[in-house]
Structure formats: structure tokens, C-alpha cells
């Protein structure tokens, strides 16, 4: 769409921008509200990420003009999404068992906390 055509449609866009702003504020409030509910960790993570995805989609579709964008942009984003999903899930599927079984991260955290407690004698060891 060239700029002359954009100028004709921009009033409709401006209304959509304001509606999305209001929805984003509401969803942010919902995100914080849900975090205070007593639900399982898995449920909390799922709900939080669903709400974040909805918010991100609204920003992308309306603010970034992805709705009605050219097909090449969708191809770029589809490829990015495929690699992103791989990036998120491959380490979990391939490393998670060995990392957890060996307790590497847990051990590192314990050592860091003990070291922190030694270096700051006036402070209690953070967080128990």
C-alpha cells in the first residue's frame, strides 16, 4: 500500500491503535492478577505465556501493521518461529535430563549462595 492509500486508511488504524492500547493495559493487569492465584507452577506458566502471546500478537498485528502485510514478511517470520521453537525446546529435550540428574545447576547455586554469605558477613545468606 503506498502512502496516499495509507493516508485514507489511517483514521481507521488510529482507532484500532487506541483499542489495542486499552486491551494491552487490561491484559497486563490480568497477568499480574493471575500471578496471585494459587495454581500449580505449570498452570501459572501456561496462563502467563498465553496472555503474553496474546499481547505480543496484538502489538505485532496492529502496531507493527503485520495484519495485511506482504507475504514475504510472513515467510520470514514463519522461518524465525520455526527456529525459535527449536531453540526453546531442543535444549530442554536433549540436556534437561543430564543437567538435572547431575544436579549441576543446583550445586552451582548452592556454592554461589555460600560464597555470597562469606563475602558479606553483615548480611544473612540470601534467600532460604
Amino acid at each position: 500500500m503506498n502512502f496516499e492509500e495509507e493516508a485514507k486508511h489511517v483514521d481507521k488504524h488510529v482507532k484500532a491503535f487506541t483499542v489495542v492500547l486499552i486491551l494491552l493495559v487490561i491484559f497486563t493487569g490480568i497477568t499480574v492478577g493471575v500471578s496471585y492465584l494459587k495454581v500449580s507452577v505449570a498452570a501459572g506458566i501456561t496462563v502467563a505465556l498465553i496472555i503474553a502471546t496474546i499481547k505480543g500478537t496484538m502489538v505485532g498485528a496492529i502496531f507493527m501493521h503485520l495484519k495485511g502485510e506482504k507475504v514475504l514478511v510472513y515467510y520470514i517470520l514463519a522461518l524465525t518461529l520455526a527456529f525459535f521453537i527449536g531453540l526453546i525446546f531442543l535444549p530442554v529435550f536433549t540436556q534437561e535430563n543430564s543437567v538435572q540428574d547431575h544436579g549441576i545447576v543446583a550445586q552451582m547455586n548452592e556454592e554461589l549462595l555460600l560464597q555470597g554469605a562469606k563475602e558479606m558477613p553483615g548480611h544473612d545468606a540470601p534467600v532460604h
Binding site: A48, G56, L72, L77
Partner: protein, 197 residues
């Protein structure tokens, strides 16, 4: 010789050079932050006694305020673009100034948070959660700062282009806005992951 398709769209893709370039750059930014999110998942899953934001007194109210600040700045930057399309340069200046100001507010709130952490003896070396917290929010903060610098350029010295080549200037503002929206989207995911979960 002028570079073709800086303003008009290519006939094959329907996009100009800047838009293709910016979307490719944003794709790389998604992978950059995606790698940190993936690292966070692996580290968190690797420690059954993982300590999260609540254990280190991360301030949910301040982060909530920062989220609202960035959401509002996303609105102001797109309104800045819309003002230019409506050929209202005065409104563009107001909205862009607000966008930069909101970025400044975000950075100030972040600085307050960091200062509070350091005063409590919480440093990146204290715990792996804090290492990833400072890395991700620090990198995000650098992106906010970069966006502020670019937007400031377009508000002041760069705005001369509005008089010489208005359509090209509108394109520039749209692309700068795309970067700013991505910075907002990244924070939309960072906030719940680091502060609420």
C-alpha cells in the same frame, strides 16, 4: 545513481528495501533473546530448588509500571507515524517526544531496581537467577537506549528529511517504530518470566 526501491515497493515482493531489512533484523533479535529464554528454561529446570524473582525481592509493582510505560510508548510511536501520514508534523513531534520520554522513564525505573538489588547485596554472581536476570534486563535496557537514540535523531537532526523527502521520512519512522515495538514485545515476555513465575 539512486538506489532503487528505497521508497517504492519492489514489484516482486511488494516491499521496499528498508522494510525487508528491518524485518530480517528483527528476526535476528528474536533469536538473540530467544537464546536467553532457552538458557533460562534449561537453568531453571536444572535446579529443583530454583529461587525466583520473589526470593530476591524483585519489585512486581515497579515492573508492572515499566510494562505500562513501554506499552504506552508503543502507542505513542505508532501515533507519531500516523501523524506523519496525516501530514501533521507538530503532532509527530509531540508523540515522538513522549515516546523518548517514556523510554527515559523506563530506564530510570530500571536503574532504581538495579540500585535496590545492589544495596541488598544481590549481584549477577550471587545466584544464577540473578545472572540471567541482569543479563536479560540489561540487554533489553541497551535496546531501549538504542531506540531512544534513534528516535531522538529522527526527532531532531533527522527530521529535516520531512521537508526534503517526506515519504522517505515516513518510511524511516515506520521502521524505527517496528524496532521499538519489538523491544516492547520482548518486555511483554520478560516481565512475567522473570518477575511473576
Amino acid at each position: 545513481m539512486e538506489i532503487p526501491y528505497t521508497i517504492e515497493a519492489r514489484p516482486d515482493t511488494g516491499l521496499n528495501n528498508g522494510k525487508i531489512g528491518m524485518w530480517l533484523f528483527l528476526a535476528s533479535e528474536v533469536m538473540l533473546f530467544g537464546s536467553f529464554f532457552a538458557s533460562y528454561i534449561v537453568l531453571r529446570v536444572g535446579d529443583p530448588n530454583w529461587k525466583s524473582g520473589a526470593d530476591f525481592s524483585l519489585s512486581v509493582p515497579l515492573a508492572f509500571l515499566n510494562t505500562l510505560v513501554l506499552i504506552f510508548s508503543s502507542w505513542t510511536v505508532v501515533m507519531a507515524w500516523a501523524s506523519l501520514v496525516r501530514k501533521d508534523f507538530g503532532k509527530f513531534q509531540k508523540y515522538m517526544m513522549l515516546t523518548i520520554a517514556m523510554g527515559g522513564v523506563f530506564m530510570v525505573i530500571k536503574a532504581i531496581e538495579y540500585k535496590a538489588k545492589f544495596e541488598h547485596g544481590f549481584f549477577p554472581s550471587t545466584h544464577i537467577f540473578l545472572a540471567i536476570y541482569f543479563t536479560m534486563t540489561g540487554l533489553h535496557g541497551l535496546h531501549v537506549l538504542s531506540g531512544m537514540i534513534v528516535n531522538s535523531y529522527f526527532l531532531w537532526p533527522g527530521s529535516k528529511m520531512w521537508k526534503t523527502d517526506p515519504q522517505r521520512f515516513i518510511g524511516r519512522i515506520e521502521l524505527a517504530g517496528l524496532f521499538w515495538h519489538l523491544v516492547d514485545i520482548i518486555w511483554i515476555f520478560l516481565f512475567p518470566v522473570l518477575y511473576l513465575l
